[in-house]
Every structure is written in C-alpha cells, then in structure tokens.
Symmetry: none
Subunit: 206 residues, 4 copies
Amino acid sequence: MPGSGRRKPLKQQRAIETRNAIILGAAAVFSRVPYAEARLKDLASESGISEGALYFHFASKRDIAFEVVAVQQERMHGALTEVLSRGGNALDKMLSAYAALADLVASDVVVQGGIYLQNQPGTELADATNEPYLEWVRLARILVLEGVEDGSVRPDVDADGAAEFLNALFIGAQVLSNHADSWASMPVRMRSFEPLVRIALAPASS
Amino acid sequence: MPGSGRRKPLKQQRAIETRNAIILGAAAVFSRVPYAEARLKDLASESGISEGALYFHFASKRDIAFEVVAVQQERMHGALTEVLSRGGNALDKMLSAYAALADLVASDVVVQGGIYLQNQPGTELADATNEPYLEWVRLARILVLEGVEDGSVRPDVDADGAAEFLNALFIGAQVLSNHADSWASMPVRMRSFEPLVRIALAPASS
Amino acid sequence: MPGSGRRKPLKQQRAIETRNAIILGAAAVFSRVPYAEARLKDLASESGISEGALYFHFASKRDIAFEVVAVQQERMHGALTEVLSRGGNALDKMLSAYAALADLVASDVVVQGGIYLQNQPGTELADATNEPYLEWVRLARILVLEGVEDGSVRPDVDADGAAEFLNALFIGAQVLSNHADSWASMPVRMRSFEPLVRIALAPASS
Amino acid sequence: MPGSGRRKPLKQQRAIETRNAIILGAAAVFSRVPYAEARLKDLASESGISEGALYFHFASKRDIAFEVVAVQQERMHGALTEVLSRGGNALDKMLSAYAALADLVASDVVVQGGIYLQNQPGTELADATNEPYLEWVRLARILVLEGVEDGSVRPDVDADGAAEFLNALFIGAQVLSNHADSWASMPVRMRSFEPLVRIALAPASS
DNA sequence: CATGAATGAGGTTTCATTCAT
DNA sequence: GATGAATGAAACCTCATTCAT
C-alpha cells in the first residue's frame, strides 16, 4: 500500500494544512472524473495551491490517489467499528453498519473519491484497489455467521452467498447513486433496501 | 441481380468485416481498461488492423466507444426480449432474465466492454452512458408490478424500491465479478443470489 | 549498448531519411551543448521535423544520444581500420591513424556530437560512454608493441605508458580544439604534435 | 581593537564558514555531475545546509559555480607560482609544475569541481570558463622559450606547438583520470608521461 | 542567518488525429 | 480501403528561485 503513512516529519503547521487541502481537493476531482482524466491542474486549483506544490507533498499523481484511497479506508473502517461496537443482534448491526456507511458516502468527499477510484480495475491503481472489496466480503460473512448464532439470521442461509449478496447490493447502490446524483441519494437508497434484506435474511417471522 | 452490380457490395462486405473486427477488438480493450487509458494503438492491434484505418470506419475514439455501447445495448435487449417472451410468472421471468443477462455478460466481450464503459461517469462518454441504467429500472418496475398481479410477488412490496433493489444487485454483481475474474464468475454469482431474492419478493409461501 | 541497432524494420523510405536527419540534427546540438542542456525543441528544429516525431523513431532523448554515440563509434572505427590496413611501419600507421581521426573529428558532425557526449561522465549516459576510452588505449598499446617489433619504436618504451600518452594527447587535443573553434583546428593541432611524438617514440635515430 | 567592535565580525565569521562549506559541497557535486544536472538540493545537502540558505550567500546556482571555478584558479595558480619560484632549469620546473598540479587535482575537491565545470563549453558558464585554457598555453610557451635559453629544451622546437602539446597532454590526462577513477590516478599518470616528454623536448642528450 | 514551504516556467513525453503514399 | 509516418496540443513532472516564519 504505497501512499499510506507519512514520509517526512512535515515540520511546519502550514505544510500539514496544505497536505490535507490537497487530499480534499484531489478527492473532489477523483470523485467526479476517472483517474486518468483527472488533471493535475484541477487537483491543484481545487486545493487552492500551485501545481508544483503538489510535488512537495506527494511524489506523483498516483501517490495522491493512493493517499485518497488510504484515507477513505480509514474513515470507512472508523465508521464501521464505531457502529459494530454498539449493541444489538447481528442483523441489526449489519443493517445499521450499511446505513452508517451510506451516510458517510453521501457526506464525505474523500470517501467518494476513494470509492470512485476503486471502481476502476485495470488502472495503474489496480493493486492498491482490489483488496478492500475482499475485506468487506469477509466482514459481512462474519456478521452473517454471528447472526445465525444469535438467531437474527435464518440458519439455512449460505454465509458466503449472503455476504456477497449484501456486498453487491451496497456496491450497486453506490454506482447507481453516483450516476443519479453524485451519491446524495445513497442513504435513502440503502434504507429503502432494508425491509427486503430483512425479509431475505431474517427467520421466517414469528 | 447481374454481376456488374456486385462490385460495390463486395467492397462493402469487406468493410463490414473490418468494422466488426474493430468493434470486437475495441470492446476487448475497453473491457480491461478505462476509456481514457485505452490506447488507439491497442484498439488497432487487438483488431488486427492499422491505426490509421480506424479513422476510415469511425470518426474518433469516442465514436468507437459509442458503437461498442450501442452493440452491447442491442445484445442485452435481444437477450432480454427473448427471455421475457417465454411463459411463466413474472418473478420467474425476472430471475431468468437476470440469469440470461449474467450469461451474456460472462461470455460476450462486447457486452463486457459496454458495461465497463458505462461504469465511468464524468467521462466524455457520460451522455450516451447514463440512460440505460434508468431503462433497466423501469423494466424491473414493470415486472414487479406484473408479479404483484399474477401473484408471484408479495403485494406489499414497494415497486420502485424493489426495482432498484434488483438493479443494484445486478450492477453490484457486475462490479464484483469484474474485479474478481473479469466477469467469468458472473453467472454463478447471480444464481447464488436467486434464493435470497425469491424469499425477499415472493409471497410468504404457503 | 542500448540505442544501437534497428528496432523496427522501418518500412518506408521516408522514415529512414527522417531517422538520419534526426541523428544528424541531434549530433549538431549535442556537439554544441551538454546533454542535459540540449533541448528537444532544438533537436527537432535542427532536424527539420516536429518534436513529437522524434518519438516515433526513438524512445527517449537518451536513446537518441546513444544512437549518436553508436554512429560516431562506427565511423571512427571505420576510419581507423581503413588507415591501419595500409602499409608502413607501426609508428607511421599510428600517426596517420590519429591524423585521419583528427580529420574525421573536424569534418563530421556526428563524430563531434558523439565525442562531446562522451566527455560528460556522471551523466545518465555514463554507461554507454565509458567503454570507448579503454578501447582506444588497448589499440594504441598494440600498435606500440608492433612498433617495437618492426623497429619503428624505441625498444625501451613502456607500452602501457606510451599508449596512454598518445591517448591523452589525442583527447586533450579534442578538448582544446572544441574550446578554440569547435574542432576546426583539430587536424592542424594533431599535425603540429607529430614531430614531438616521433622524437618521443622513435629510436634515437642514426 | 576594543571588544565592542567584534560583534559584526563574529557574525561574519560564521557566514564565512557557511560560505566555505557551500563552495566545498558544491565543488563535490560539480566534480561528479555536469553543471546542468547538479541539483541545488544536492549542493545544499552536501554542504550540510538548507536550500534556501544558499541564496543568502550567493545570488544563483551560476554564481556558485563561478565561485568554485574562481577558487580552483586561485589554488592552481598558487601551486604553480610556488613551484615556479623554486630553482632549476626550465624543463625541470615545467615538469614539476605539472606534477604539482596533478597532485592538487587528485587531492582537492574544489579543483576537481572547477576543472569539470570548465570542460563544458556551450553552457551558461562558457564565458568565465574559456580564458583559463589560454592562460595555461601562454605560461607553457614562456617556459618553453625559457628552456631554449637555458639549454634545457632543444632549440629547434616550435614554442607554440610545444606549449599546446604540453597542455593537451595535461588536459587529456585529466579527462582520462576522471573517467577512470575520479582523478585519483592523475599523479601517477602524469608521472608516467615524464620520460616521454623529456625525450621529446630535451636536447639530443649529451 | 537559516529553514522549510511554495511558485511557475519550462522540459520531456504521450497520444488522438491527420497526411502522403 | 489501408498503412506507416508525422503533427501538435496537452499532460505530468522537475527544479531554480522566492517567500513567510
């Protein structure tokens, strides 16, 4: 995972601010336009700095993209663990996890940029970009199994299939939301899926 | 039809073949690499023709991409109408429609190229690329309503929500399949979702 | 030795001409200005072609420089073998060899470019540039030994020292000539050294 | 000299040290790499100071290079006059002068940097760089004539030719030594030329 | 005096498109 | 109809220089 982690100490406060501004501006551009069509000129102007300054903080355009993805991962991970630490049965936790992520996606430009960057297989970026998907699937699988145990999920579901099912749903919602209105409708969309997911996974009722 | 008239058609015949070769080669490239990273040189070599010759058949790279998307639409549409013309209740039709599309996606390079091209909002291509999504949703909605009528779908489902649900699932599966193995696993994946979709949409059983 | 040897067949006559024009123009620039200060813009205009066309024929500025050096080597080698194949004793052959090389240096732009390129150790070019010097020394050594045998060189000279002596003289003359008048005076200069070299190497006379 | 006057000189003292450090560091870089490829960043780090600080002591990169050349000239001049002030006939003085310079070249980084800087005609530096060569030739000429008078040099030598001969030899040795081992072998090399030079210039023997 | 951060001009390289054969 | 060669705009990146602290 290149791009993650500080290279230099960054001695001045001003530098840190600039660095953050770059990540923010870059994410904004990357969330609107495919990586290869994102112009350095735009990253710079969106960040309010000169083009050359980018290279004081990052080694290349590629590195900037990696950093955006890294921050996105961090934030999504943060949101996730926060939600999962709350009480409730596994199914509820799962659904509120997706809801929380949907909120994050709708509101956080860096997350949007990171997501869109990941949706471009075959790019220079491919490497740093493939792993996350697998991680989500793994997590979902764990939650499904947990749900079977605590009774919130039907015992006859295929854990792997269900995990991918949830993931496909989430990713599809991202793509559709992006197409529709740049992720603004993401939370609504996910919420509208909830009842169907509940029916699909929850025990026959009671 | 005297032989004297043949000369032109014969030439056209060759042109048509070349044209198809271009579309096929282009689709192959577009299915692996984002539009902006697809090199004309690669389209040409993958099609087995020279770079300059592309411009005899198409006005620009953009046009080639459009044509790939057009053919993809055509083929998906064809597969769809073929499936939908068969008998069965709406839910069954719906599921076999998605299954058929999944097969198509897994086997047809042009369809793959078209799909991947569509997954790049914000591009030059954006215009020609946005509509199809809406159409799928519309179609799904109609089928859901049909299902409510013929009793294959629970009467209390929200047609709009269910339509988007199905669509998100399908699109998410595409993205995941592409990431995983260039769409090879698409049919399996969709089939593994079927039981969950049935439970989510079908009436409580009896 | 990258840059030496044809990459592609170069199917068209025109291409071959252009390629040669590039080498010639590039050499002209490289003979006036250090590698790192040679502007592609100048290489192009001096060759009468567009900047981009350079990249149809060569992969990089570096490669162009390598090719110039390669051609220079070739030409110097050619001139050398031509001279050495003539009759005469070893000392005479040696001196007329240096004279012939001096003429070549004064008249051939590609040779000038190659020479100046080689005089920049520590550059990107370093690799392809170091070997030739050693080769000259080796050749001079052989001739000195030959001279000892045929009696045209004093038997008590140190072959290694004499070889480097001759080489230093030749290289120093190049540097001075370049400084003075872009190599124009090279032949005169070398000729003015001849008597001294004869005295230094020839037997005490009689 | 009251203590109250010392404050400024003290500051200057520090400045002088920094200035010297810069020249030393710069020379080290300039001796390895052509002017245009020498990075200010490297000059700075090699000098142990910050990039910005360079501009407190010098107006530009070009100025630093000039200063390196100036110091080099100074030191070579110093070594020369020291040697020439000793006794002996002209030929001996000449040879020990070159020997002394060779020692200096091998041991003094600033001299190395200066020499390498001068070997780049066509640069921004060209102006300040051309003169020295002429001066060496002039000096050598004078010594040759002196030698003719004191009998240490054959009376029939062409003073101009001999002067350039000696110079070419010295410069060629520099180039070869630099290529071979960054000037380390310079003294050995020059010494190995001595016998040949003696034979070339000294009277027929006796 | 010194430092790290920022600027901006300009360099090399890429690549869709056009041209001559 | 087709090819290889050429163009030129624009992209990414470098780096001497300047600025704020």
